[in-house]
Subunit: 223 residues, 2 copies
């Protein structure tokens, strides 16, 4: 995620990162940065110091005091040593003075990401499919910025589909994995839950991601 109010910088960095294959979310003020980075689904934060609403340093401190360990790379036009010091002491992981070269940004970014993925001893905590993000540990899910409020069965079902993105799951295999047994062939329970999920995932006008495969089952896929 990039938090930067200067449109030129924000857009050029976003474009460059996307070319490199990263998925980028851009925000333009401190409060939005704090909000978005507080949830999961953000792997690294590029943070400008001078932003409206909330100063970058404050965002940094807030995130750290909330226990977030997300890697933070601070961007700033200020070049005084004292600024760097306060940035690092606020909990930033690295510091890059403007103007910076794209190569250096990418290198520092790789370095931070390599370090943070090292930390993850176990399986990836989140599944990301386009704008759908599922945090398995927290049992929370987002479509874009919007958090979905899911009941147990709804979450289990969405997680199952997301773990098998692009794969068609048959009715009976879904019944097996969610309920542990197959209901009668005339049970509409699964259809009901697919309905719930579709309503909740498309509530903001987003395109459909849960596709019906007639005569077979369902699959999670963009189309």
């Amino acid at each position: 995620m990039i938090a930067e109010d200067d449109r030129a910088v924000r857009e050029s960095v976003t474009r460059a990162l996307e070319l490199e294959g990263y998925t980028v979310t851009a925000v333009t003020d401190g409060v939005a940065a704090l909000d978005a980075a507080s949830g999961s689904g953000v792997d690294l934060l590029l943070l400008d110091l001078g932003m409206p609403n909330m100063d970058g340093l404050t965002v940094c401190r807030r995130l750290r005091s909330a226990g977030s360990r997300i890697p933070i790379l601070v961007l700033t036009a200020r070049t005084e040593v004292s600024d760097r010091v306060s940035g690092l002491d606020a909990g930033a992981d690295d510091y890059l003075p403007k103007p910076f070269s794209l190569d250096e940004l990418l290198a520092r970014l790789r370095s931070l990401l390599r370090r943070s993925t090292f930390d993850d001893t176990d399986a990836p905590a989140t599944i990301t499919v386009e704008d759908l993000v599922i945090d398995e540990a927290a049992r929370r899910a987002w479509r874009g910025e919007r958090e979905l409020e899911l009941t147990k069965t709804e979450f289990d079902l969405l997680e199952l589909l997301a773990r098998n993105t692009g794969v068609v799951l048959s009715h009976s295999s879904i019944y097996d994995q969610i309920w542990g047994y197959d209901f009668g062939p005339d049970s509409k329970a699964l259809a009901v839950y697919i309905g719930y999920l579709r309503r909740k995932t498309e509530d903001g006008g987003e395109p459909r991601i849960i596709q019906t495969v007639r005569g077979v089952g369902y699959t999670l896929r963009f189309s």
Copy 2:
């Protein structure tokens, strides 16, 4: 540990760090650096790139390929972007161009050390989640300024939840970790303790931090 062949830099940095209370070992060439840093007992490596016997970048790569995760801060006179990039890609954690100010060196050093001690999965002395502070050693807890008076089981439960902030813990996993075994599925013991903790953590009108995840368990989270 500092690896630096220029005597003036080596000695002044050593002296400054010792004044700050660090214990410093100094070596003057790449082979010695690799040897000393391969063992344990070194918390952080200040590495000059231009050294006799073995180049700093090579030291860096060797250490990383041997699985060492020691924080490495690269010092160099070279200022070209390509040097920075190759340094970071060789596995360095941070980069400081000469000449550097002592203040900045110290700040980056603190940042790296904080990061690496963070990584230690074992006991941080206190857990902080927003305005909730838990001192594990003293077995005391505060919500804001107010100290919570907790019984043994209450404290254990709150600590468990706080160690897993944002993660949903299932009933059985909580029973396992707090009581050592699962009570019957119709025991309400857990619900009762959750109730006690909620009463005590919300006594001053604070917002709820212990959330129930229906059908699954509980999680500690702000929302």
